[in-house]
Amino acid sequence: MLAYLIRRLFAAAVMLVVIIMVVFGIFFLVPKWAGVDIASSFVGKQADPAAVEAVRQKLGLSDPIYSQVWEFFKGIFTGRTYSGGGDVTHCSAPCFGYSFRSEQAIWPVLTDRFPVTLALALGAALLWLLFGLAAGVLSALKRGSLWDRGAMVVALAGVSLPVYFTGMIALAVFAFGLDWLDAQYVPLADSFTGWFGGLILPWITLAFLYAAMYARITRATMLEILGEDYIRTARAKGLREPVVIRKHAMRSTLTPILTMLGMDLGALIGGAILTESTFNLPGLGQAVLNAIKTQDLPVILGVTLITSLAVLIANLVVDVLYAVIDPRVRLA
């Protein structure tokens, strides 16, 4: 188990380095090939050549690519100082770059916004696991019943409807129509009820989509597992049916669900853009959306990296959990 863990950790570290290099390449090399001047996109309407040159210097854009990557790497551990035009900007470690658009170091932006996204993703995950699994298992056990058909129709709706659509309806009905909620994000530190009230609609909206997906997968997996030989063995032992379901069938059903959960959580941390934008949550997704609008490359780069990191960590956790659940994996 320990060897397995070390192996996975090492693989994750290697992946992260590769990701940094690839992302860096995409953001700084591709524009170069496309003949787009990054520096001039940082400067305003009246592009002053001196200003463009200064930005280029500050960002080290005229340096060879390997030294740019190296500076970036080094910055993560030692911090970085950008200077040009008589102005010195220090970006303390861990420095994930500096946005000359909003004049902020990226790391504080990320740490400021990450909890919002994390709260959104985890809260929604809790909801969708609860409802998705329950609905899926019930549907499987009562296959063909009215409940099953009803649940699967709702699930189909949930999977098909885009989140901005359900989100808009939720907002229109509960926040603007019935006026039950403020639908305004409030930091947890300010007020728990405000925080909860601001997140409950996004949670439900997001959970609706995923619960639907999870219900369908759970149902299908459960039905498949119930046909397995070892379930028959469990029954042949004289186990009561509820124990068969709980102890034998559920554990196997959880494996694919867990894999999905890992990927979905990881992806959500960087990709809840639609939800965050629909509910105006100040999370990473919104940051990256704003950054795309304003061509703020360092922010996009930072969010991409932190997202990759989140996906990696989520997958690592899943891998470990997977190994806990399925002993066969530990050998792999």
């Binding site: 009562k142 046909g227 032992k237 004289g238």
Partner: protein
């Protein structure tokens, strides 16, 4: 929809009110039908047999002949896992040690499962839960029926593993199924089945998934354990060779019904049904040459929804035209006694069959 028409069993002809039999296990006119969208699948359609303690019954037939469903029916597992599907229909009687199981309280039957009757499955890899250690699974099986702590149960598991010939059982008990070889897994499976000293052991194709050398070891093990525990054993197989040395009685199934039944040596040396001949012909024998020895039964098993009229075997039977008036295609033959405790269901006359067997079939085998 269900057509529980004339019983296929010629012997006993028991009615529902019939008294408890003297045999340890007696199955009377067992029918297991599965309603599907395409029609009623008559997996078992009138099966009758008896089995005494300490004896071994071999049920032989192709896949789809109803042999596995029979065993599930006895265990009360024929409807298990059929969530939302239309329930299987079962009728007839299954008497186990004086109790009729089909009319008994399902929870009572559940308590018998694993305790009084246990089962060994074909593929031990898929029949063992991949996420639990061998020990955990044996312990679970034991503790369902014995109110003991885990420690005691584990000691029992180690003991059983030792008994079935697993080396270092105290270590292997904590291994997972995937860490065992195929033969070891089947031994573990057997250990799990026998952990509660069941009086009836049903082995469903216990060696099919194993390689040849291991097969013999497993069969030896089953025989030894049977002697030791004195259980009644049903071995279900498509391979006559498996039961050749093990079984006291043989029951040949075709299309959900019994076509021949009798003491093993009778069925082997004086088979009185063309299907049994076919099975014997397709049996691998070590003393024969590769080319000669496998004479498979031509054609494919019958549909269990539209069983051929007359003798179910007639489309594949080389002798279907021996009896006159096309009777093989119109009238279903009943089991008839062809010797002491030996029954077969065939329209051909005794003499015809004896002649064909001795003159045409036996010499080739």
């Amino acid at each position: 929809m269900t057509e529980l028409s004339k019983s296929g069993a010629a012997v006993g002809e028991p009615t529902a009110a019939s008294p408890a039999p003297s045999a340890f296990l007696e199955v009377r006119d067992l029918k297991v039908h599965f309603p599907t969208d395409d029609g009623l699948v008559k997996s078992v359609d009138g099966l009758t047999f008896q089995l005494e303690k300490g004896k071994t019954l071999g049920i032989v037939g192709e896949s789809g002949s109803g042999k596995s469903v029979t065993s599930l029916g006895i265990m009360g597992l024929h409807t298990a896992g059929q969530y939302g599907k239309r329930k299987a229909q079962i009728s007839g009687e299954i008497w186990l040690d004086g109790t009729e199981l089909l009319s008994a309280d399902p929870d009572h039957v559940r308590k018998l499962r694993g305790r009084q009757m246990a089962m060994i499955f074909q593929d031990p890899l898929s029949a063992l839960h991949p996420y639990y250690t061998i020990g955990q699974q044996i312990v679970e099986a034991y503790r369902i029926h014995h109110d003991v702590d885990k420690k005691t149960a584990k000691r029992r598991a180690v003991e059983m593993l030792d008994r079935v010939g697993i080396p270092q059982p105290d270590k292997r008990v904590d291994n997972y199924p995937h860490e065992f070889s195929g033969g070891m897994r089947q031994r573990a499976m057997i250990a799990m089945s026998l952990v509660n000293n069941p009086e009836l052991l049903i082995a469903d194709e216990p060696t099919t998934a194993l390689d040849v050398t291991v097969q013999a070891q497993i069969l030896d093990l089953i025989r030894d354990l049977q002697k030791e525990f004195g259980s009644a054993v049903i071995i279900i197989t498509h391979d006559l060779g498996v039961v050749a040395e093990l079984a006291d009685d043989l029951l040949v199934m075709y299309g959900g019904r019994c076509v021949e039944r009798g003491p093993a040596e009778k069925v082997f040396y004086e088979p009185r049904h063309p299907y049994t001949w076919g099975l014997l012909g397709s049996m691998p024998r070590l003393d024969r040459d590769q080319q000669e020895r496998l004479i498979p039964v031509k054609g494919s098993p019958p549909s269990l929804i539209n069983v051929p009229s007359g003798c179910a075997f007639n489309p594949r039977c080389p002798y279907a035209d021996v009896p006159k008036d096309n009777v093989t295609r119109t009238v279903r033959p009943e089991l008839a006694e062809v010797g002491s405790k030996h029954w077969a269901a065939c329209h051909m006359s005794q003499e015809q069959r004896e002649r064909i067997w001795t003159e045409e079939i036996a010499p080739k085998l």
